[in-house]
């Protein structure tokens, strides 16, 4: 797909410096450790480490936690940390991908109507599914289908304009589809006022404490999306120059863009389905990395995965503990922390995106 051609050309975006990779990985590891150690229930660092050692069958290690504390640690807290990492990594990756593919610095994972479509799917499930099916399993499926369908419609509308080479057309189509789905969702919600609370908490976004089941649900999509996008990461650098430039460099713009959009969409739809709408991560993480390091997409995309994961794990720690034992909506935390942080980054750097 023209990767060789790309490498031989004059695209000189800065690559991945080992120092940044080390720093990013260290940040993620520290975040994960904090995520596992800190929670509304004080388990004690030593006890957690002992329990981990016992789980890893390190000889001589025994856990001093009670069975209930063991369950809290391994069935509630650890899977939630892992899920937060998957969701954060996926959102940041999808945001960075869309920004490159659509050459739009304001693009976020919800650009092509995923949020509106998933919201409609979730609302329809909450309002109309028979009681037995309405549980936690049907809702993600409905949100996933709704999100994917909205992006598919966006693509169809954009193509019907016969200007599918133009990224701006697709973004406009996304705005149109999102407006339509949002109106439909609001109508259904208004007709079923008793669902208001449930729809509202879903839209607010949070990392659920559903144990490993949601991790297993989301992992294949996130893994597949990450593999596809990271394999094409050098092509994103070329696409970000412009369609004509990319085509002249031997890139099949339409097919590559379709592949990237499908990967980012399926990954985002999967994480939106379990976690609702978490704003800010997809925009702020890639831009902060770009401003701090000045790297091109081929380095930005992998860094976004790692740092997005670490950022959301830390944000979720705050969501779990700030009002402990009550919870704070995660979207509040991401924006409340992300906005000032980004303002500082904007102020202290002179490198444009």
């Amino acid at each position: 797909m023209g990767v060789a051609a790309v490498e031989s050309t004059d695209v000189r975006a800065r690559g991945l410096s080992p120092l940044w990779v080390l720093g990013a990985v260290a940040f993620l590891l520290v975040s994960l450790v904090i995520g596992v150690l800190v929670g509304p229930i004080e388990l004690g660092i030593g006890s957690v480490l002992e329990s981990a050692a016992a789980r890893l069958h390190i000889p001589g290690a025994t856990t001093s936690l009670t069975p209930t504390e063991e369950a809290i640690l391994w069935e509630i807290r650890v899977p939630r940390v892992v899920l937060a990492a998957l969701v954060g990594g996926m959102l940041a990756l999808a945001g960075a991908t869309y920004q490159g593919v659509f050459r739009n610095p304001l693009a976020d994972p919800y650009l092509l109507g995923i949020a509106a479509g998933a919201g409609l799917g979730a609302t329809l499930a909450i309002a109309y599914l028979p009681e037995g099916l309405r549980g936690q399993r049907a809702l993600p499926a409905a949100a996933f289908v709704g999100g994917a369908l909205a992006v598919f419609m966006t693509y169809a509308v954009g193509r019907s304009a016969r200007r599918e080479r133009d990224a701006a057309t697709l973004v406009l189509a996304g705005v149109t589809v999102a407006a339509f789905f949002t109106a439909w969702q609001t109508f259904v919600q208004q007709q079923n006022a008793e669902t208001l609370q449930q729809v509202y908490t879903w839209i607010l976004g949070n990392i659920p404490s559903t144990g490993w089941s949601d991790v297993i649900l989301v992992l294949p999509y996130v893994a597949a999306a990450a593999v596809v996008i990271l394999a094409l990461r050098r092509v994103v650098d070329v696409l970000s120059l412009g369609d004509d430039e990319a085509a002249s460099l031997g890139v099949d713009v339409r097919r590559v863009r379709l592949a990237l959009v499908i990967a980012a969409t399926l990954g985002t739809a999967a994480v939106v389905a379990v976690s609702g709408l978490i704003g800010f991560v997809g925009i702020i993480v890639p831009h902060a990395i770009r401003l701090l390091t000045g790297v091109g997409y081929r380095a930005l995309l992998p860094l976004s995965v790692i740092l997005g994961a670490g950022f959301l794990v830390l944000a979720d720690v705050i969501a779990r503990t700030a009002l402990s034992p009550a919870e704070l909506p995660l979207g509040v935390v991401t924006a409340f922390l992300g906005a000032p942080f980004f303002a500082i980054v904007l102020r202290s750097t002179r490198v444009g995106p």
């Binding site: 929670g39 509304p40 229930i41 069975p67 209930t68 504390e69 369950a71 809290i72 069935e75 509630i76 807290r77 899977p79 009681e131 037995g132 099916l133 309405r134 549980g135 936690q136 208004q190 006022a193 008793e194 669902t195 208001l196 609370q197 449930q198 908490t201 949070n206 659920p208 404490s209 559903t210 144990g211 490993w212 089941s213 779990r320 009002l323 402990s324 034992p325 009550a326 919870e327």
Partner: protein, 305 residues
């Protein structure tokens, strides 16, 4: 002192603030006690003639109106008033009310629980009397609302009887259940993402009356009364009793609760002390409150034995 006045001048009592006269004094009033004035949290309301065309936009008020014998005076109830079945359910909404649609029923009294966007003032401008009974905060407040509905609809005596009946049944249940309940803790679940209700809410007052310790109380730093608890906390606080008020909305059941990660260690799950309450009973503060108490007491009875 208020009781003395009530005995001397029944008409005067009917016209004065209801809250002052106890339930025992109420049966003295005659049905012809109009005009009548009551004081609700939303303000004073005077009803001049016995209403014949009542519209209820509050499911709780609908239940109370039918329980106190005002049913024949009710011409329409809102779309969520699903009890009793004989209530004239309409497409009127209590959440997104349309003044014209309400006025089309030519009501002389409208009872609401929620007053969005100047609903009550718009109705008053049309010459319609409005009683705004917000969600009760205490058992006392719930009784008071039923008595006030009795007064404004000309059914004061049956309303007082309904309240006395509720009180005596609830008192009996509380007395029997308290010795067991006062040693136990409860977790009240509003949604599957663990929104709960503290002792500062109406449903929390029910648990408090029984002497149960509410695990949500520790979590409400914001004072909303409805905090969202973290799963770790609920499992660690190990409630003896779980009350599910999200069975109809969200398909929760003792089985789904037992499947949640880590919850198999919770005492209520191990002993099977999970009460499912009809969402509408647990979220209303009308005469069916007794049913809620009864459901709780039978679960507590099983725990005690």
């Amino acid at each position: 002192m208020p009781r003395l006045i009530a005995l001397l001048a029944p008409a005067l009592v009917a016209a004065c603030v209801v809250g002052l006269s106890g339930a025992a004094a109420a049966p003295v009033q005659t049905e012809a006690a109009f005009p009548v004035t009551i004081t609700t949290p939303a303000g004073k309301v005077t009803v001049r003639r016995k209403p014949q065309r009542i519209v209820s936009l509050s499911p709780t008020a609908t239940e109370s109106l039918f329980a106190i014998g005002a049913g024949p005076q009710v011409v329409a109830v809102d779309d969520r008033s699903d009890y009793p079945k004989t209530a004239p359910r309409s497409s009127l909404s209590g959440f997104t009310p349309n003044v014209e649609a309400i006025a089309a029923y030519r009501p002389d009294l409208v009872v609401i629980a929620y007053d969005p966007k100047g609903l009550s003032s718009a109705l008053r401008r049309l010459g319609i009397t409005v009683v705004h009974h917000d969600g009760a905060r205490t058992l006392k407040g719930a009784y008071q609302q039923i008595r006030q509905l009795g007064l404004v609809t000309g059914n004061a005596a049956p309303a007082a009887r309904v309240v006395t009946g509720m009180k005596s049944r609830i008192d009996r249940i509380v007395k029997a259940a308290r010795p067991t309940a006062s040693r136990l803790s409860v977790y009240h679940e509003l949604t599957p993402d663990l929104y709960s209700a503290t002792s500062n809410t109406f449903v929390g007052q029910v648990y408090r009356a029984l002497g149960l310790r509410n695990v949500a109380d520790a979590a409400d730093s914001a004072g909303s009364g409805y905090p969202q608890l973290s799963a770790e906390y609920v499992v660690a606080s190990n409630p003896d009793l779980i009350v599910l008020a999200d069975t109809a909305c969200c398909g929760q059941s003792p089985a789904t609760v037992a499947q949640r990660p880590g919850w198999d260690h919770v005492s209520a799950v191990r002993t099977g002390s999970i009460v499912r309450v009809d969402d509408s009973i647990a979220s209303r503060w009308g005469p069916r409150l007794v049913n809620f108490f009864r459901a709780l007491s039978s679960a507590l009875g099983r725990l005690g034995s």
